[in-house]
Structure formats: structure tokens, C-alpha cells
Amino acid sequence: MSTVNSIALPFVTASMLDVERIRKDFPLLSTLVNGHPLVYLDNAATSQKPQVVIDALSDYYQEYNSNIHRGVHYLSQKATDAYEESRLRIQKFLNAERPQEIIFVRGTTEAINLVAQTLGRTSVGPGDEILVTALEHHANIVPWQMVCEEKRAVLKVVPMNDEGELDLNEFQRLLNTRTKIVAITHVSNALGTINPVNQMTQLAHRHGIPVLIDGAQAVPHMRVDVQELDCDFYAFSGHKMFGPTGIGVLYGKRKRLESMPPYQGGGDMIKSVSFEKTVYNDLPYKFEAGTPNIAGGIALGVAVDYLNGMDIHAIQSHEHDLLEYATEKCAAVPGVRIVGRAKDKASVVSFVMDHVHPHDIGTILDADGIAIRTGHHCAQPIMTRLGIPATARASFAFYNTQDEVDVLVRGLHKVNEVFGV
């Protein structure tokens, strides 16, 4: 997987990423868009999938499609085994204490809604507070607003500075006896800021407040250890970490999950049902009503295997280089201003251009096969805080290259050219 060229580069001790070889694992990366090789820089929206993940999906449907947790027949047993093995892989991936703490959901959004509708609705009352941050995606704002509205509670927000870094003093000041839940993003999708979630969790725990971390943008870039973080909940989506759409994970500490009421009712989440009384199933099934996304769950396990097969330090070093290079090169294009200059950042470059709206930037880059995201990135409060309607965002994965950054930069010069700037 990783190679060290000890002859040509004797001083390189860290392993290097063989990006050209890795790119071959992702069939879509060799596609042409508008007659140009695809330059896919929209990884924060969704990542591309390696062939092994695509194969895992079709293998399930072609070779052992059947329902899980019920049948005594061969196929059902095989599918159940594959699905539950995937749960074990994810448990190890997050270093969770028990597999029962891994709840399969549709994605980060459903994971957060699950906690909001169970823990939120049972532990939050009138005048209580739920604390989020200025860097949240709408998915970690709206579910809490819904709880606040129903329970007449108050949503409090940790502010950030102009660079896109949270104000930790203000965070500490906002923690109080009325705070019932702290919900924070690990990595900002719009700006790339990596938040000090470890420290924030410790601070919240001093007040006995449970902490949910939105890890959607973190898991593709770093190893996450939920026991080390000591968070009560950790949510992420499969599709941003090279797995399929429609599958994600809620990690929750066993004691928390056991004390919470079920989220949805139905099959699989029960032990016994009568019209008089239903006995709910044990974890994790208590939170997994109905036939799940079986293929997705299995393929997510394969994505975890794929990531485990790579050197995370090499990934981080490569992505850090891409971030530095892209930041420098983009900022040097006349009219470009980088938005979000946090000291600790994932490989996300958000920017605006003088006199050119991000939407126009997106269209002009697309003509050259460059895929970026433009808009408010489902984080309108960040845009409002920074006084801009939208940004253009290039977000990198380990399969991106400096050559692709060069194509992006040429595209930005072309934007200026088209607009006569």
C-alpha cells in the first residue's frame, strides 16, 4: 500500500501515499466530464467509492440477498453474518467498547435526529438549554431546534472568530446547570475547521452534560477513538468515507443508549409484541426498527476495511500537503479570498472571489471537468456570521493530487478571464 523510496529520498521516514495506484481503485476518477478528465474536489459532499465497495453492494444482491435476523435458511444466515460482521468492524474502527454501541442508521442526519427525539425529548424541559456551535451543519441545528420548540427550551450557540475557530472561553461560560445536551461538529463541512472536541467533551462532562459529536467530516480524514474522546454519541455517514449512501452510524455509550426510549417502532426492535404490551429488544436492535439497508451496512464494513488497509499518517500528511498547496495557490489568484483560516484544518478550501459569485465560479470550473461545491453548504449561519451569501469550496480526499490543484487554479484564472477581471 505505502512505499518508501529510500534510495531517492533517504531522509523521508514517513511512508508516502502511492496516489496513482490508489486512484485506480476508484473507477469514477478516470471518467471524463465535458471532455476533460474529472477533477473531483467535492469530497466533503460525498466521496467516490472504491471498486471493492461497489462490488460488495452487487455481491450481496447477486449472491445472498435475503432478510436478516429472521430466517433459518442459508441465505438469511449468510446475510445476517455479513451485516453483523460489519458492525464488529465498525466497532473496532471507532474503538467502541461493545458492538451493541454501534447503531446502523441512514446517515449522520438520522443519527442526530435519533438522539434528539429520544434523549432530547426525555431530558430537555422548559427553560433548559441545548448547546451547539456556530460551525454546525443544518443537520446538527434543526433537530435540536425542533426539540427546543416542543419543550420550550433554548438553543445556545458557541460563537466563532473570523478565522472560523470556536471561542472556547465562551463555550465554558455557556455551560451551566440548564444545559442538557452539547452537540458539536468534529470538523466543519463549510470551512474545514477541526474543533478541539476532546477538550470540549471534558469541559461538558465536568457539568455532567452528555456530548454528541457530528463526525461526518472527520472520519474520512482521521482515526477516531470514541473511548479516548469519551463522547456520549458520535455520528457519521458512510458515503463521505468511501462507503455507500443511505447508511451511517450512531455510536452511543451503552448506558446512555439503554436509558433512552426507542426511536422508531416496528419489527426487529422488539422482543415480544401483544396488543397489551410490547417488550423492546436489546441494544443495538432497540434502535433499528424495520429491515435495514443491508447491502449498505455490509459495504460500509468493506469501506472500513479499505481505510484500515491504508496508512493513516500517510493520508494525513498527503492531505495536509494538498491543503497547504491549494491554499497558497488559490490565494495567489487575483480576487480570491480564502474563507476559514483556522490553525487546525481538514483538507477543505472555501473561498470567494471579488466580483464573481460562487455559483458562476462553479459553472465555469465545471466546463473544465472540475467539480466543486458552491453555495451555503447547508451551514447558512456560518455564511451569515461571515457576511457572505455563499462560498466556493474545494474539498480534498487522499486520492486527489497537486496536479488537480493546478487544474483548479488554472480554472480560477479562467473565471477572471470570462468575467473580464
Partner: protein
Amino acid sequence: MNELRALYQEVILDHNKSPRNFRRMENATSVVEGYNPLCGDHYTIYLNVVENVVKEISFQGAGCAISKASASMMSTILKGKTTEEAEQLFNQFHHLVTGTARADEDIETLGRLAAFAGVSEFPARVKCASLAWHTVHSALQGDQKVISTE
């Protein structure tokens, strides 16, 4: 590059840079907001309609070059038109940017608006070009709420 040039024509870039009738209107007979939540384009359009004639039209707001130039050029075209003529132009413009104009439809009558023909090659941008027009269309129908493209 040619398709891009067809989209970002000089006249469009000019109206984006120096939008016409870009101001509030105190004596408006209707004020309607147009909003595209996907990209954040957001305009307020002011109309002064007297006896079915658009006496004055102006707008304010922010958005991409296509949406702003479209609002600006629309404001110059609609001034003095009857509401029926405005509705007819709305339909013609819509056909133009979606590439659904009938063979017998004459885009000559659209005058400068024909500059937006290039939009039909960029389906993702049709909403940008038509936002202001949808907003005016709704205003002429008597709506006062925020008009969304979604």
C-alpha cells in the same frame, strides 16, 4: 470556452456589473421577494402597476451574475409594458432559457433578452435566469409572499 462565452455574454456581464433600476421604490404597488435557497440568490422586486401598465420596476438583492443580469435586463424591458405583454414575455423567456421554444416562436421579439439563450445549455442555471421573472409573474398574479425556486 465557446459555451461559456455564450452564457456569459458581454451584455450579461455588463448588467451584472452595473445593474439597471437597482434601487428601492417608495411608491410600489407590489413588492415581492424571490429566493433560490439552493444558491442563496435573493432579490426584492418593486413594481408600480397602474391600470395594467408597468409604470416603474426596480429591484434590490444579491446573487450570481446570471440572476442579477436577468433581473436587471428584465427591469429595462418590462417598463411601460402592459401586464398581458409582461406575462407573454415571461412565457417566451421561460421557453428560451429552457430550450423549449416552439418553432413558430420568434425570439426576435425578446430583443436583448435573447442573450440568455445560452442558459439552455446549462440546466443547473435555468433557475438563476428565471428567478426574477418568476417573481414578477407571481407579483402580477397578486402574490405577496416570498417566491422560491424550490
